[in-house]
C-alpha cells in the first residue's frame, strides 16, 4: 500500500508538472509590448514553484515508502529540531518574499506609471452583456454623458449629451479597433454591474466598476490578421472576455478587438466620423 500511495503521488506530481514543463500547455500567443513581463515572470514563478512542489511531494512519497510499518521498524523519539525550524523558516521567508519582490517591480511599471503622453485614449463601457467603445474624435476630448439620456434604441447607448460640443465628434462602436504598436489607454466604465475587461493575448485584465473611473494602458504589438487560426480553422481574433460575474449572460459577454495598421485605423476613423 505504501508503494501504491508513493506511486500515485509521483504520478500526480508528474501529471501537473510535465504538461507545463514541456510547454505542451502554455499561455496563448503574446500580443502586447508589456505582456512579456507577465510571461517571463510567470515562467520564473512556475520554475520556483516546481522547485518547492516536486521535492515536497517526492519527500512525502519517500517517507511513505521508507518508513512504512515493517517488522523490526522503530520510530525515533524526537520532538523536533530547532536548527531545522530556523533554517526552513528563513529559507521560506527569503524564497516567498524574494519572488514577490521581483513581481512587484513589474506591477509598479504597469499600473503605477501613467500612460505615455501620446497614448490613444478609448473609453470602454460595459453593460449586461455587451461593450461600447468611445473614441474622443478629432478634438481629442470626450463629450459629457448623462445617464438619464441613455437610449439604446435611439442609438445613444452611452447617454451622450447632444448639447456638449466636445461630444459632437465622439465615435461609439461595439468593436474595439486600435492601431498596432501605439500605446493605448483604456478608461473602464460600467453602466450597471461590475464587469471585467480581459484580453488574454495582451495579458491585461481589469474590472469595470460602476461609479469608478479605472484606467489601464498597454501597447498591442501583433496585427489581428497575424493571429493563428483556431484549431477548427476559423479565423483567430482578439476576444474581450468578461471575467467578473455579471449575470445570466456573463458567459457570452464578449467583444472583439481588432489591431490594425495606422492606415487602416485612420480609414476606420473616417468611416465612423460624425
Amino acid at each position: 500500500m505504501a508503494f501504491l500511495l508513493a506511486l500515485l503521488i509521483v504520478a500526480i506530481t508528474a501529471g501537473l508538472v510535465w504538461p507545463l514543463a514541456a510547454k505542451m500547455w502554455w499561455t496563448p500567443l503574446l500580443a502586447s509590448a508589456q505582456g512579456g513581463d507577465f510571461d517571463s515572470h510567470f515562467l520564473l514563478s512556475m520554475v520556483m514553484c516546481v522547485i518547492i512542489f516536486v521535492p515536497a511531494q517526492l519527500a512525502l512519497a519517500y517517507c511513505v515508502v521508507a518508513f512504512r510499518d515493517r517488522a523490526g521498524a522503530k520510530a525515533s523519539y524526537s520532538h523536533g529540531n530547532n536548527f531545522m525550524e530556523v533554517l526552513w523558516t528563513s529559507l521560506a521567508l527569503v524564497f516567498f518574499i524574494g519572488m514577490n519582490a521581483k513581481g512587484q517591480s513589474m506591477w509598479y511599471h504597469q499600473r503605477m506609471e501613467a500612460a505615455p503622453a501620446d497614448s490613444l485614449m478609448v473609453e470602454a463601457t460595459g453593460e449586461q452583456f455587451a461593450w461600447n467603445f468611445r473614441y474622443p474624435g478629432a478634438d481629442g476630448k470626450f463629450g459629457k454623458t448623462d445617464f438619464m439620456k441613455v437610449d439604446n434604441s435611439a442609438g445613444n447607448p452611452l447617454g451622450l449629451d447632444p448639447d456638449d460640443p466636445a461630444g459632437k465628434d465622439d465615435i461609439v462602436t461595439t468593436t474595439l479597433v486600435v492601431p498596432v504598436n501605439k500605446p493605448l489607454e483604456v478608461i473602464l466604465h460600467s453602466k450597471d454591474v461590475t464587469h471585467n475587461f480581459f484580453v488574454r493575448e495582451m495579458r491585461i485584465k481589469q474590472d469595470a466598476v460602476p461609479g469608478m473611473d479605472l484606467r489601464i494602458h498597454f501597447t498591442p504589438s501583433v496585427l489581428s490578421k497575424d493571429l493563428p487560426p483556431h484549431p477548427d480553422g476559423t479565423k483567430g481574433e482578439y476576444e474581450i472576455a468578461c471575467s467578473e460575474l455579471c449575470g445570466l449572460g456573463h458567459y457570452k459577454m464578449r467583444a472583439f478587438m481588432q489591431v490594425v495598421t495606422q492606415e487602416e485605423y485612420e480609414k476606420f476613423l473616417k468611416e465612423h466620423a460624425r
Binding site: 515572470h41 531545522m84 481589469q206 467578473e244
Partner: protein, 602 residues
C-alpha cells in the same frame, strides 16, 4: 491494539462512572434533539454538514453536466420541476447552482463540520472538561445554524428562484433586485438573511469555544500540552469571532440597500436594462468587497485550520512518533490566524483597488506562505524516521499533506498582482481554492471521521472499504482539479455557464469533458463513504476504548463517552499530547493522563 494499562480508567472504573454520569437527561427530546450535551450537538453539526455536502455535491455534478451537455434535457423529476421551469437547463440555472454550491459548501460544510462538528465533540474532552462552558448557548448555536440552512434551501423554491450572484454576492449585481437577473429578488434576500443568521450562530459558537479552552482545562493541561487539534479549534474560533461580525454587518447593509432605499454599495448613475436607476446614489461597490473579503480570507483559514489540526494529530498517531516541532506548529497557526486578517486585498487586485494597496497585500500574502510552509516541513519531519501505519485516517491525512502542498503552491502564483492580471477569475483560481480549501479541508474531515468515528458512535468503520474510498477519491479529485490549472493558463474565465460565448474556449471542450467525467466518477465514489458510514452505524463491530493507541484524553473515555465525559472525575494531565515511541515505556505510546515519566525535551 489493547487499551493502555495504568491509565486512570479501567473497565471497572468505567462501569462505576456510568452510574455517576451526573445530570444526564433521560427523555428522548432532551437527550437527542434539544440536547445541551456538546457530543450530541457535535453529532448534530456533523450530520447537518453531511446533508449539506451531498446537496452541494449534487449541485456541482449538475453544473459539470451542463457544461459538457448544454442542450441535454434534465430528468423529469418532481423536485427538479419544483425548482426550475422546464427540463432544459439554462445559463441562469447554472449560475444558481454555482452560487448555491459555493455558499453551501463554504458555510454549511467547511465551516460546520470541522469546527461545529469535530470541534464541539472533541475540544471539551481533549482538554478534560465535562462540557462546553455554555451548554445552552451551544445548543442555540446549532439550532440557529440549522435555521440558516433551512432559509438558504428555501431560496430554491421562492419566486424567481435562488440567487445567481455567486457566493461572493458582489453588488450592484446582488444589491438592486430582480432587474439584475433571475434569483436576484426574494432569493437573494433569503440568501443574505441565511448568511446573517449563520454569522450569528458562528459568533455564539466562537465565544463558547474560546471560553471553554481558556477556562475549563483539566489540572495539568497547560496551553503547551494541548493537542494541536485544540489549538486549531481555538485559533479558528478567534478568527470566527473577529470575521463573522464583519460579514454580518455587511449583510445587514446589503439588505438595507435592497429593501430600505439606502446606498451603501450602490453608486449613482446606473442604467439597468436601459432604465436609469434614480433612487440610489453615492455608494461604493468596493466597500462590499472589502467587508466581504475581510471576512472571506480568514474564512479560508477557518475552513482549513481544523484540518491542519486533525492532520497533525493523525500523522503523529499513526507515525507512532511525536509531532515534529510542536511549538513551531502552534506558533505557525497563530501566525496564520494573525496574518490572515491582513491579506484580504489579494482577492481584489483587479477590482479597482489602488495599485499601491496591491503591493502591500501581495507582500503580506507572501509572508503568510511562510507559516504554511513551516507546517508542511514539520509534517514531513514527523514522518521522517517514523513507523507509518496505513489506516484509513492516516491515508487521508497523508492525502491532506499532498493536497495542501499542491493547493498552496498555486497560491504563490495568485498572490502576485502582475500574474493576477492574467489569472484573476480564471479556472486557475478555481483549481487553487478547490484543492486547498475544498478538497484538502474535506480530506481533513474524512481523516477525522475515520479516526474519531469509533469514539463518537462506539462502532468501527470498515477499513477495507474506507481504503477503496481513499484511493478513488485521491485520484478522482486530482483528476478533476489538475486540468483546471491548464484551463486557467489558457485564459478560461470562471463562472461561465457555457463555452459557446467565446470562440477560444472551443478548443478546451475536451478538457471540460475529462473534468466532468472525473467529477461524476468522484461524486459517485462518495456513496461508498456514505454506505460505509451508515453500515458501521447500524452493524459495525464494537469499538474498544482506544483502538488506535492514541495519547489524548478522548481515548480515556468510553466509546462513546458518558454524558459528562469522565464520569464526574476530572482527569489529571502529566505531559504533552504526542508521547509516542518513548524509550523504555511499556507501550509505544504514553497517554496524557498517564503519570509515568517521559524524558525531558524542549
Amino acid at each position: 491494539m489493547p487499551h493502555a494499562a495504568g491509565v486512570a480508567h479501567d473497565t471497572g472504573q468505567a462501569l462505576h462512572d456510568h452510574a455517576h454520569a451526573m445530570g444526564a437527561p433521560t427523555s428522548f427530546w432532551r437527550k437527542y434533539i434539544f440536547s445541551i450535551d456538546h457530543k450530541i450537538i457535535g453529532i448534530q453539526y456533523y450530520f447537518l454538514a453531511l446533508v449539506a455536502v451531498f446537496v452541494g455535491l449534487t449541485l456541482s455534478v449538475l453544473m459539470r453536466f451542463h457544461l459538457v451537455y448544454p442542450t441535454a434535457k434534465m430528468w423529469d423529476l418532481p423536485i427538479w420541476k419544483s425548482i426550475f421551469n422546464g427540463q432544459q437547463m439554462t445559463p441562469e440555472m447554472y449560475l444558481t447552482l454555482m452560487t448555491m454550491h459555493g455558499t453551501i459548501m463554504v458555510f454549511f460544510v467547511l465551516t460546520t463540520a470541522p469546527q461545529g462538528g469535530f470541534g464541539n465533540y472533541f475540544l471539551p474532552i481533549q482538554i478534560g472538561a465535562a462540557d462546553m462552558a455554555f451548554p445552552v448557548l451551544n445548543m442555540l448555536s446549532f439550532w440557529t445554524t440549522l435555521v440558516a440552512f433551512i432559509i438558504m434551501m428555501a431560496a430554491f423554491w421562492v419566486q424567481g428562484g435562488a440567487p445567481l450572484a455567486g457566493w461572493t454576492a458582489y453588488p450592484p449585481l446582488s444589491g438592486i433586485g430582480e432587474v439584475t437577473g433571475p434569483g436576484e429578488g426574494l432569493g437573494q434576500s433569503l440568501w443574505i438573511a441565511s448568511i446573517g443568521t449563520f454569522c450569528l450562530a458562528s459568533l455564539l459558537g466562537a465565544l463558547n469555544f474560546i471560553a471553554t479552552t481558556l477556562q475549563l482545562r483539566a489540572k495539568g493541561m497547560t496551553l503547551m500540552r494541548m493537542p494541536l487539534t485544540v489549538w486549531s479549534w481555538l485559533v479558528t474560533a478567534i478568527l470566527g469571532l473577529l470575521a463573522f461580525g464583519v460579514l454580518l454587518s455587511g449583510g445587514i447593509l446589503l439588505l438595507l440597500d435592497r429593501h430600505a432605499g439606502t446606498s451603501f454599495f450602490i453608486p449613482g448613475g446606473l442604467v439597468l436594462n436601459g432604465q436609469p436607476l434614480v433612487d440610489h446614489k453615492g455608494g461604493s461597490p468596493l466597500l462590499w468587497q472589502h467587508l466581504f473579503w475581510f471576512f472571506g480570507h480568514p474564512e479560508v483559514y477557518i475552513a482549513i485550520l481544523p484540518g491542519m489540526g486533525a492532520a497533525s494529530q493523525i500523522l503523529s498517531t499513526f507515525a507512532r512518533k511525536p509531532i515534529f516541532g510542536y511549538r513551531a506548529m502552534v506558533y505557525a497557526m497563530m501566525a496564520i490566524g494573525f496574518l490572515g486578517f491582513f491579506v484580504w486585498g489579494h482577492h481584489m487586485f483587479m477590482s479597482g483597488l489602488s495599485p499601491y494597496s496591491a503591493l502591500a497585500f501581495s507582500l503580506m500574502t507572501g509572508v503568510i506562505a511562510v507559516p504554511s510552509a513551516i507546517k508542511t516541513f514539520n509534517w514531513l519531519g514527523t514522518l521522517w524516521n517514523s513507523r507509518i501505519q496505513m489506516t484509513c485516517a492516516m491515508l487521508f491525512a497523508l492525502g491532506f499533506v499532498s493536497l495542501f502542498v499542491t493547493g498552496g503552491i498555486s497560491g504563490v502564483i495568485l498572490a502576485q498582482p502582475i500574474l493576477d492580471s492574467y489569472f484573476h477569475d480564471t479556472y486557475f483560481v478555481v483549481a487553487h481554492f478547490h484543492i486547498i480549501m475544498g478538497v484538502a479541508a474535506i480530506f481533513g474531515m474524512f481523516a477525522g471521521t475515520y479516526f474519531w468515528f469509533p469514539k463518537m458512535f462506539g462502532k468501527m468503520m470498515n477499513e477495507t472499504v474506507g481504503k477503496i474510498h481513499f484511493w478513488l477519491t485521491l485520484a478522482g479529485t486530482y483528476a478533476i482539479f489538475i486540468p483546471m490549472h491548464f484551463l486557467g493558463v489558457a485564459g478560461h474565465p470562471r463562472r461561465y455557464s457555457e463555452t459557446t460565448g467565446v470562440d477560444y474556449l472551443k478548443s478546451l471542450d475536451g478538457v471540460h469533458m475529462f473534468i466532468s467525467h472525473a467529477a461524476f466518477f468522484t461524486a459517485a465514489v462518495q456513496l461508498i463513504f456514505l454506505g460505509n458510514l451508515i453500515y458501521a452505524l447500524w452493524k459495525g463491530p464494537k469499538a474498544p476504548k482506544n483502538p488506535w493507541g492514541c495519547t489524548t484524553l478522548e481515548w480515556v473515555c468510553d466509546s462513546p463517552p458518558v454524558f459528562d465525559n469522565f464520569g464526574g472525575k476530572e482527569p489529571e494531565v502529566f505531559h504533552g499530547a504526542y508521547e509516542y515511541s518513548v524509550p523504555g515505556a511499556k507501550e509505544d505510546f504514553i497517554m496524557q493522563n498517564d503519570p509515568q515519566q517521559v524524558p525531558e525535551h524542549h
